[in-house]
């Protein structure tokens, strides 16, 4: 029962029109994709420019040249006292803050010390430690400027501060140096004296706890569910629960951490161990889901091959399936850890928003983490904290990039070429 069809005219106008429409559709789609990429690149560029322009000055410090005539000053020190193990003690007894204040008044007038940061005497101390012979002559030591002067020098400050800066610049007393203290110190009240190290170390410790818990448990869970557990109502229930856990808002994990780790287990408040435990709960479902997909994607023929030469189920998993699934598992781990690194809400619930001025010594010491530090600084009244906030964001992003870089390196190392 074949109907005779008229032969197709491949060059008819209708055909041509169809071809033209097809080409137009291809072009349209390509342009849309290109537009989307351009738009997101633009946003990224805008973000980077804003943050770098606002934050890079946070790594700089304005110094004021402070001339001190040590022999004439009331400092009670001999160069000999600065050699040997008692140097620190001798410096602590030397009343350097008073010396610094006196020198500031002598050079910059009655309220000269207000131009300087409260920690200006530390710079004097360090200079003396480095070169005790300064005590025998008069010297010019660059010391950190007060926050409003610092701000007025770098960008814009109050009219009064701007005038002072103009006056000081004329004298050639101002200079900018790299603010190493920002990388080595912790939270404080004076924006010229705060540092990110405490929060960075807190983040490192918290991430270490998170990774050490969530990675092995997550991977084992994925393997068990994929390779060992049968398919029944219970495993379906577990699967649904894990998928839901991955979508639970993070603040709820914080509440759980508060109820279980702090109230029931009596773990120390605002410690990295509790933060790490809480974030591990959050990260685990992500690793389990990624791990299951990666294990599922390993070709069954590899399992057959290993079973065929007499490998036991556990040998099949650990010798063959896991290595092949590793790149996929690591991708999921990167995503989960990156999310955990940037997490603030659950950590607020377990007290990691405390003011902590010393870096944590271990996982049980009070600590804070980078995103919480950023949140705290963005909330400060003093304007000097604005650039510190941006600078802390830059540190957080660099940390994130470093972490992802390591994970991508590992993933490529594990990747098998077929």
């Amino acid at each position: 029962m074949s109907h005779d069809r008229t032969p197709t005219d491949w060059s008819s106008p209708v055909m041509r029109q169809r071809i033209a429409r097809r080409y137009a559709a291809e072009r349209r789609f390509r342009l849309m994709g290109l537009g989307a990429v351009t738009l997101s690149a633009g946003f990224l560029l805008f973000l980077l420019v804003t943050m770098l322009s606002g934050g890079l000055t946070g790594f700089l410090r304005t110094d004021i040249a402070l001339p001190i005539n040590f022999p004439a000053s009331p400092v009670m020190l001999e160069p000999a006292m600065l050699k040997g193990p008692n140097a620190q003690q001798a410096l602590a007894n030397a009343n350097l803050p008073a010396v610094t204040t006196a020198a500031a008044r002598a050079t910059y007038g009655d309220k000269g010390e207000e131009l300087l940061s409260d920690s200006a005497w530390v710079a004097v101390r360090d200079a003396l430690l480095k070169d005790p012979s300064l005590l025998e002559r008069s010297a010019v030591i660059p010391v950190p400027a007060a926050s409003d002067i610092d701000l007025a020098h770098k960008r814009e400050g109050t009219a009064e501060a701007e005038a002072t800066v103009a006056r000081l610049t004329e004298k050639g007393a101002l200079s900018s140096t790299f603010n190493l203290d920002f990388l080595t110190m912790s939270d404080g009240t004076d924006p010229t004296q705060v540092g990110i190290w405490g929060a960075l170390k807190g983040s490192l410790l918290t991430m270490a706890v998170t990774l050490l818990l969530s990675f092995p448990i997550g991977v084992m869970t994925a393997i068990y569910l994929e390779e060992y557990a049968g398919r029944n109502r219970w495993t379906d229930l577990i699967e649904v629960s894990i998928n839901n856990l991955a979508a639970v808002p993070s603040i709820i994990f914080g509440l759980l951490g508060l109820a279980v780790f702090l109230n029931a287990w009596m773990l120390p408040r605002s410690a990295a161990i509790v933060g790490g435990l809480t974030l591990a709960l959050m990260t685990m479902p992500v690793i389990v889901i990624a791990g299951r997909n990666a294990v599922k994607a390993v070709p069954p023929s590899i399992r057959d091959a290993a079973l065929g030469v007499g490998a036991s189920p556990i040998q099949v998993v650990f010798h063959h399936v896991l290595p092949l699934a590793m790149p996929g598992i690591l991708t999921g781990t990167i995503i989960g850890m990156a999310r955990a690194l940037g997490e603030t809400a659950p950590l607020l619930m377990i007290g990691m928003r405390a003011f902590i001025a010393t870096p944590p010594g271990g996982v049980t010491d009070p600590a804070t983490v980078l995103p919480v530090q950023i949140f705290l600084w963005s909330d400060e009244v003093s304007r000097g904290f604005v650039e510190k906030t941006s600078a802390a964001i830059i540190v957080l992003l660099v940390f994130l990039l470093a972490m992802n870089g390591i994970a991508i390196y590992l993933r490529n190392k594990f990747e098998t070429r077929w």
Binding site: D304, A305, V309, A311, H320, W418
Partner: protein, 264 residues
């Protein structure tokens, strides 16, 4: 219903494996009905039959690879040297070392050629030293007819070899654990004629050292390589006998129709 008639294949060789009244179910579906068959030592036994007749399924019951399929259920008795392989006393991992398998699609591990062969002996502790292992690898690859082609690049990936070489590597991998029986599940179906010829040649050479069971779609292949042929149809064993008899003088009408190309 099922014809289990032709299980007296005047087997002269000593019996290596024996199946009695084997039924295999996938869930509610019965894939194998009352199959009884003896596999002779030092012989090549071919399973032929149309697609879906259960020959591969039956082959996989011989080393319990069907255990990995959750819905599969095996009834009946299968013995290796008189030992019931489905009894609780039988260690399935050791069984699969004694009854090796080569699969339809070459499936080397994505590791080096050396590693592919060394893996089996290593997990079973068959080599005492690195030098021992080198010997095992060389011997196995020689027996698989691959040594001359790969001896200078043992550290290259096994997956970088051609399809035929990969399949011979898989045979070498199976040989390396010194199995007593080798099961081959359509080992040439993914290969070109030249690679197929090489594998057939290899089967000739391996004959006498191992009991070999080969599933094939290709009747000429069965005629060329096997001493004994079993014809499966719709999950039953229709006829089993000396290969030349099956091909020249089949007793069953269905066998005759199949080998003369009436269906299949």
């Amino acid at each position: 219903m099922a014809s289990t008639a032709s299980t007296s294949p005047n087997i002269s060789a000593p019996i290596k494996m024996a199946a009695q009244d084997v039924n295999v179910f996938y869930g509610d579906k019965q894939a194998i009905r009352n199959v009884s068959i003896d596999v002779g030592m030092d012989e090549v036994t071919a399973f032929i039959g149309p697609s879906g007749c259960g020959k591969s399924t039956f082959l996989r019951t011989l080393n319990r690879m069907n255990d990995t399929v959750a819905s599969a259920r095996v009834e009946g008795r299968i013995t290796l040297d008189g030992e019931d392989i489905y009894s609780t006393a039988m260690d399935v991992v050791q069984l699969r070392a004694r009854v090796g398998m080569v699969f339809q699609k070459p499936n080397p591990f994505p590791k080096s050629i050396y590693e592919n062969v060394a893996y089996g002996p290593r997990i079973h502790g068959l080599a005492n030293s690195r030098a021992d292992m080198d010997v095992i690898v060389e011997q196995s690859l020689r027996r698989a007819g691959l040594w001359e082609e790969v001896k200078d690049r043992l550290q290259d990936s096994g997956t970088a070899l051609s399809g035929g070489q990969q399949q011979r590597l898989c045979i070498g991998r199976a040989i390396a654990v010194q199995p007593e029986v080798i099961l081959m599940d359509e080992p040439c179906s993914a290969l070109d004629p030249i690679a197929t010829a090489k594998i057939e040649e290899l089967i000739h050479e391996l004959r006498g050292k191992y009991a070999i069971v080969i599933v094939t779609h290709n009747m000429q292949q069965a005629a060329r390589v096997s001493q004994r042929t079993a014809f499966f149809h719709l999950g039953t064993l229709v006829e089993y006998g000396v290969t030349s008899d099956i091909f020249t003088n089949p007793r069953e009408e269905r066998t005759k129709d199949y080998i003369t190309g009436r269906y299949g």
